[in-house]
């Protein structure tokens, strides 16, 4: 199940939804908004945007890549758009596999691939302006902060 949503992600339901009698291991990765601090300011929240439906298809592509490479029984990836407050999940990846090695490897692979190929962008909204992560373009006077 691969989905881009604009509402909070129900992490518990996603994890439980991966439990299967033919799998002994479920590895989950949750990316959450971290409050960085620097130059007398701090990150207030993140704001995500996506190029859809390309982003949806790229999530599905990652799922297909995982199923080619590892013995997995279930893969879910849900990414949130819009404002994500500190400590809230922006992305949830759940992989179930008969054995733990593939579950760990595939969940790690998924987040690395998301950061490589899925057209989603985040801005850090600081108390003194914003900055596009990765581009270092924005309105902060000290964007390196």
């Amino acid at each position: 199940m691969f989905r881009i949503v604009e509402v909070p992600i129900d992490v518990g339901a996603l994890v439980s939804g991966a439990f299967r009698p033919d799998c002994g291991a479920v590895a989950t990765f949750v990316g959450t908004t971290r409050v960085d601090e620097g130059a007398g300011a701090e990150v207030e929240y993140l704001e995500y945007e996506a190029y859809r439906p390309m982003a949806d298809r790229k999530l599905e592509q990652i799922g297909a890549e995982i199923e080619e490479r590892w013995d997995v029984g279930h893969v879910s990836i849900v990414h949130r758009l819009g404002r994500v407050d500190p400590g809230e999940p922006s992305v949830v990846i759940v992989v179930a596999s008969p054995r733990r090695g593939p579950a760990f490897e595939a969940s790690r692979y998924a987040i690395e691939r998301i950061k490589e190929i899925v057209p989603i962008w985040k801005r850090e909204i600081w108390s003194d302006g914003y900055v596009w992560v990765g581009s270092q373009v924005g309105t902060r006077s000290t964007p390196a902060g």
């Binding site: 945007e49 996506a50 990414h79 922006s90 950061k115 962008w121 581009s135 373009v137």
Partner: protein, 81 residues
């Protein structure tokens, strides 16, 4: 119609000041389209080295040909997750 639709995202939309533009073009390369784009939005120029492009929702190189009716996307370094 001879129009190519260009979508801009993230920092690229910021620099251009628009999220969408249309160009009259057919059979040009992405690189040629980029020249048309920066003529109209010069602030985009310095970003070239960091950008990727998609044609009709799939990544494409600068030498790829764009036809009328195509949707081109200007993609800054992705930062999902």
């Amino acid at each position: 119609m001879e129009q190519v639709k260009v979508l801009l995202f993230g920092a690229a939309a910021d620099q251009a000041g628009v999220r969408e533009a249309e160009f009259t073009a057919n059979g040009v390369t992405l690189d040629e389209l980029w020249s048309m784009l920066t003529l109209k939005y010069p602030a985009l120029s310095p970003m070239r080295g960091t950008l990727a492009f998609a044609v009709n929702g799939e990544y494409a190189k600068g030498e790829e040909t764009v036809r009328a009716g195509d949707e081109v996307a200007v993609l800054p370094p992705v930062s999902g997750g």
